[in-house]
Structure formats: C-alpha cells, structure tokens
C-alpha cells in the first residue's frame, strides 16, 4: 500500500482532479434542477410573500407591499392561526409517540421468533399504503364507521375507559393518562405513520456489533438492561434522524398544506399563500432547531 502511495505521487493528484471533475459532472443535473426547481422558486416565493400579485391577461403585476401579507395571514385570515396551531400541536404530540413506538417495534422485530418474516412484511406495509391520497380518503369511509358500530367496536373500543380509571385511581397525572389513552385510540394512525421509522431503527439495531451483547450477557446483564445500556445509546443518533423524518413526513398530512394550496389556487391570492407557507416553514424550522438542540446533547457518538 505504501509503495503504491509513493509511486502515485504525481499520478494521484491527477486522479483526484479527475475525480473532482467527474464529481462535478455527476452532480450537474441535480445542480441544474436545484437551481431551476428549488432555489429560484424559493427566492421568488419569498418575494411573492412580500408583494401583492395580480394576474391579468397581459401577465402578472408584482408590486412590493411590505409585510402586509404576513399581517393579513396572522390577524385577518380566519383559519390560518387555528390551522397552524393545530397542525403544529398535532405534530408535537405525534412525534414522540411515533418515535418511541417505532423503536419499540424495531427491537421486537429484531428478535428471533416464529413468523418474523411475515411480521416484518406486514409492518412495512404502511410505508406503501399510508401515504398521499389513500390516507386522506381512508378517514372518510362511511361503511367502515357503520361496520364498527355494528361489530360493537371491534377495533375502536378496545376498552380504554377501564384502563383510564385504573390509572387515574392509582394516582397518575390526568394529562398523562389522556395522552396515553388517546395514543391507544389512534393506534392505527401511529402504526401507519411509523413504517419508515421502524425500518431505520431496525437497520440501526442490526448494525450494533453482537460482541457488545455477548459481553454484557457474560457479565450477567438482562435483556432489559442490555436495551437501556447498549441498544439505546447505539441507536441514539437515529432518534434524531427519525424525529426529523417524522416532522418532515407530517407536512404531507398537515391541514396547513391544504389551506395554503386553497389560498393559492382557489382564491388566487398568491402573495398571501406564499406568506402563509413561509410562516409555516419558519415555525417548523424553529421546532426542528429546538428538538435538535435538546436531542443532540444526549446523543452518544462512538467517535
């Protein structure tokens, strides 16, 4: 190896240069698209949000009006504030549930048991089914609602009320109880949104070296201890990845998206719509920054 390096003294740089050149060529298509379909639209969206736009036969009139679009979105528009808060609150509620749930399932799916292959393929099914238009339509099925009524609530009424009483009686805070029971009630929603996250965690768990588990077993650690002392620290970087992914994934389901689209394409108020989109984007960025700040302190990196 050393002799090759020595031999390649001059040749090596040209190889590096060659690689840099090809690297640029390979990135070029993406770069063009990035400029055309991302950066320029992003900048013009920012510009639109500060202007009033009138489309007429001769084209578009864009005139700068300062922050009045933002003011209108936040103070005049009737549904914006409500939609923004609900979608962000929903997101904040769902993210920890989804991440914890998918970590738990990934640990389970990593164990050996009969029917593991089947279980895995069922749990990744939501990756395929619960996205886009199908997820939207699924919630509106009348027949399903009626059937659940007829069947005496085979799925919906898993009897969380009993559990609630037990937990409240045993002195658990009421807020926590409602949070948990609402999680149980929305189990389908949570399961269907955690397909990709399970995949990521599973991949992470499998990349943990088996020696660690062996050593801990010899030292007498139980499976429970092994989870907290080995699995969790080792996959902790992925918790951040998954949190970010879950937040991003919630865009597509958000009511906000619908409102922005409606304002833009039904009412043709492009300026207001862009201002809304930017407020939404900034709100999410703030949340992501806060989450990253708190989580990244606790992450364990091997290096």
């Amino acid at each position: 190896m050393k002799s090759i390096l020595k031999f390649g003294g001059t040749k090596r740089r040209t190889y590096a240069e060659q690689k840099a050149l090809w690297g640029f060529i390979y990135v070029l298509p993406w770069l063009l698209g990035f400029l055309l379909f991302f950066l320029i639209p992003l900048v013009s969206s920012l510009r639109y949000s500060f202007s009033s736009i009138e489309a007429n036969a001769s084209g578009m009139n864009i005139s700068f009006i300062g922050i009045s679009n933002y003011v209108e979105a936040l103070t005049v528009n009737t549904s914006f504030n409500r939609t923004l808060t609900t979608s962000i609150v929903n997101m904040v509620i769902n993210v920890p549930l989804i991440v914890i749930f998918s970590l738990f399932l990934a640990v389970l799916l990593n164990q050996r048991f009969v029917g593991r292959a089947i279980a895995r393929s069922i749990f990744f099914l939501p990756v395929i089914l619960a996205s886009g238009v199908i997820a939207n339509l699924e919630t509106t099925s009348l027949v399903q609602a009626i059937n659940e009524q007829n069947a005496g609530g085979a799925v919906s009424g898993l009897g969380t009320s009993e559990l609630t009483r037990i937990m409240i009686n045993s002195g658990v805070s009421e807020n926590i109880v409602t949070y948990l029971t609402s999680a149980v009630d929305r189990i389908y929603q949570i399961v269907s949104q955690s397909g990709v996250q399970i995949l990521i965690f599973l991949a992470g768990i499998q990349s943990v070296s088996p020696q660690l588990y062996e050593a801990s077993k010899i030292e007498g650690a139980t499976g429970y201890e092994a989870f907290w002392k080995i699995t969790l620290p080792m996959v902790s970087p992925l918790i951040l990845v998954n949190v970010i992914y879950t937040v991003i994934d919630s865009f597509s389901r958000s009511e906000m998206t619908k409102l922005i689209q409606e304002t833009g394409f039904t009412n043709f108020n492009f300026g207001l719509s862009s201002a809304m989109a930017w407020i939404y984007f900034l709100a999410i960025m703030v949340i992501l920054l806060i989450i990253t700040f708190f989580i990244s302190k606790r992450i364990f990196y091997q290096e």
Binding site: K19, A20, F124, I128, S141, S274, A277
Partner: protein, 315 residues
C-alpha cells in the same frame, strides 16, 4: 432434570415474554391489516347487504357490481396505464440521477461539494408547499432562464403534460429526491475505498468504476430507492394535482371519485344518491388503486426487507 428446568423462573419468564410478544405482534398486524380486510369485504358485498344487520365481514350475497362501477367511473384500465407509465418513468429517471449525485457527494469530492450537499439537505427540509406556487408559475411560462423564448419566440406552457415530471426527475429534484440522494450517498460511503482504488489501478476510469463496480454493489440501495420512489409517486396527489390538471392518474382519479360518482348517480335515477352506497364504491376504488402496489410489494418485499438492513440509511 428437564422438568426442573421447565419449571424454573427463567423459562417461565421466557415463555411469558413469547406469549406477550405474540399477542402484541398479532394485534398490531391486525390493526394494520384491518382496513384492507374491511375494504375487501365491502367491495365484494352486494348492495342489499349494506343494511343487513347480520352482515359484518362476510357478505351474504357476493357481487362484483362495485368493482364494475368503480372501474367504469375511474376509467380504471386507462388510468392504470397512465399511472404506471408516469410512475415507472419518474422512478427510473429519479433513481439514475440520484445515484449519480449520491455517488458524487460520497466519493467524488470537489470544491464546494459539501456546500452543495447542504443544498440537498435543504431540499429535504423545506416543505414542498413553500415553493409550489413559484414552480407552478415557472412551469406555466417555462423559459429555461430565457433560452426557449430566444429560440422559438415565446415561452412554453408545460403544465398538464408529463414534462414537469420528466424534468424534475431527470434533474433529481422530483418528489422526495433529496432523501434518495441521501440514501445513495450513505450507501456509497459504506463501500470500502480500496475497491475503488483497485479498480483504478486496474485501469478503470471514474465512469467505468461507477458503472461496473459501484452500481452492482449498490443493489440494496437501488431497490429501496426504486420502491420508495415508485410508491410515493403512485400515491402522490400533491404534485400530480398541480402539474397534471386533466390527466387521468390514479391519485387524481381517486380524489375525484366521490365527486364523479355523485354526478353519475344524480344523472341516472334522481333519488339514488345513497351516501352509504357511495362510500362502498369509494372503498372499492381505493382497493383497486392500491391493488397493483400490493401485488408489487408481495414480489419485492423480500428483497426490500433484506436490503434495507444493508442500505446504510443509518450511516
């Protein structure tokens, strides 16, 4: 001896855990499969079973009327063909362009490539709604930075055609493409450098190394990206409704199915608009729309589940 071991608390604990795990897995699998089973049972029901109190899952009268109805309203075969072409086209182009970009970001470092990779992360983070309107305007009067008007005199309207999908996927900027670039980059970073160096010493250039050495090794990543991209394109209604206003694609057809159905029912018999019946046909429509995906999943899931573990998403 054996009995003593069977009765020991250790084995009890293990058995208990096995049972708990089994129940949990079965329950959650049921939760996932329940809507699909429900849809299947609704779809094969006859209209007369709809109000029958004794029919919950297994219908008394089987009928394929719902399928016929949904197929005719959705223009199913035509739509299926359109959707398949569209998804397959964008999937393949996206995978190719993202593989190139991902490889370059992983191994072919040049000045500023880290900065550009920051751009990739940015495309993942910005909600598509933020840039939707300018993209829409841009495509409506597509000028390619003033080039096309120079040649033909006026800009072209690319909306309502496959061009937006083609252009964005060739340039690795289609739906969630940032994620695919990320996946490829992480995967290529995991392939040992020595492999590449050996190829170089044997006289392969950068292009040949990529084509002959790296890509064949990247099958897991490719399968993952292909599946994700195909499925998400298939289900996407966000971009499709914007780019393709009148094209018949599965997601738009599905979104407008309730509307079309009510028009058709009103056109026929005046008071035939039964909401439950409409919901029934809608369920059938959803089932028809996801059926191709489920069939594809059945074939690729083995590779998929295996491959994801080696994709190095984890990095």
């Amino acid at each position: 001896m054996i009995i003593a071991r069977l009765l020991s608390p250790e084995s009890w604990k293990r058995w208990l855990w096995t049972v708990v795990r089994l129940v949990l897995m079965a329950g959650l699998s049921f939760v996932i499969l329940y809507p699909i089973l429900q849809k299947i049972s609704t779809a094969i029901k006859d209209k007369s079973d709809l109000y029958s109190p004794i029919v919950v899952f297994i219908p008394e009268h089987y009928s394929l009327d719902n399928f016929k109805q949904a197929i005719s309203i959705m223009d199913y075969w035509h739509t299926l063909f359109n959707t398949f072409t569209l998804s397959a086209m964008t999937t393949i182009l996206t995978a190719v362009s993202c593989a190139f970009a991902g490889y370059a970001f992983a191994r072919l470092k040049f000045k500023g490539s880290n900065l550009l990779f920051g751009g990739v992360i940015l495309t993942i983070l910005v909600p598509p709604t933020t840039i939707l309107i300018p993209i829409y305007m841009n495509l409506k009067d597509f000028s390619l930075m003033g080039l096309i008007p120079l040649l033909t005199g006026k800009s072209v309207n690319l909306l309502d055609s496959y061009w937006p999908f083609f252009l964005t996927s060739v340039t690795a900027n289609s739906l969630k493409a940032g994620l695919y670039i990320f996946i490829f980059r992480q995967f290529f970073r995991g392939i040992p450098k020595e492999v590449e160096e050996a190829a170089y010493i044997d006289g392969a250039g950068v292009g040949k190394t990529f084509m002959r050495i790296m890509l064949p090794n990247a099958v897991p990543a490719i399968v993952t990206v292909l599946l994700f991209s195909f499925v998400w394109q298939w289900n996407d209604s966000f971009f499709t409704t914007t780019y393709l206003t009148s094209g018949k694609v599965m997601s738009t057809q599905l979104a407008s199915l309730p509307h079309n159905l009510s028009i058709m029912l009103e056109g026929g018999v005046a008071t035939n608009k039964d909401p439950f019946y409409m919901s029934m046909v809608q369920d059938t429509g959803i089932l028809l729309a996801i059926l191709p995906l489920i069939i594809i999943y059945l074939f690729v899931q083995r590779y998929f589940v295996e491959s994801i573990e080696r994709t190095g998403i984890v990095g």
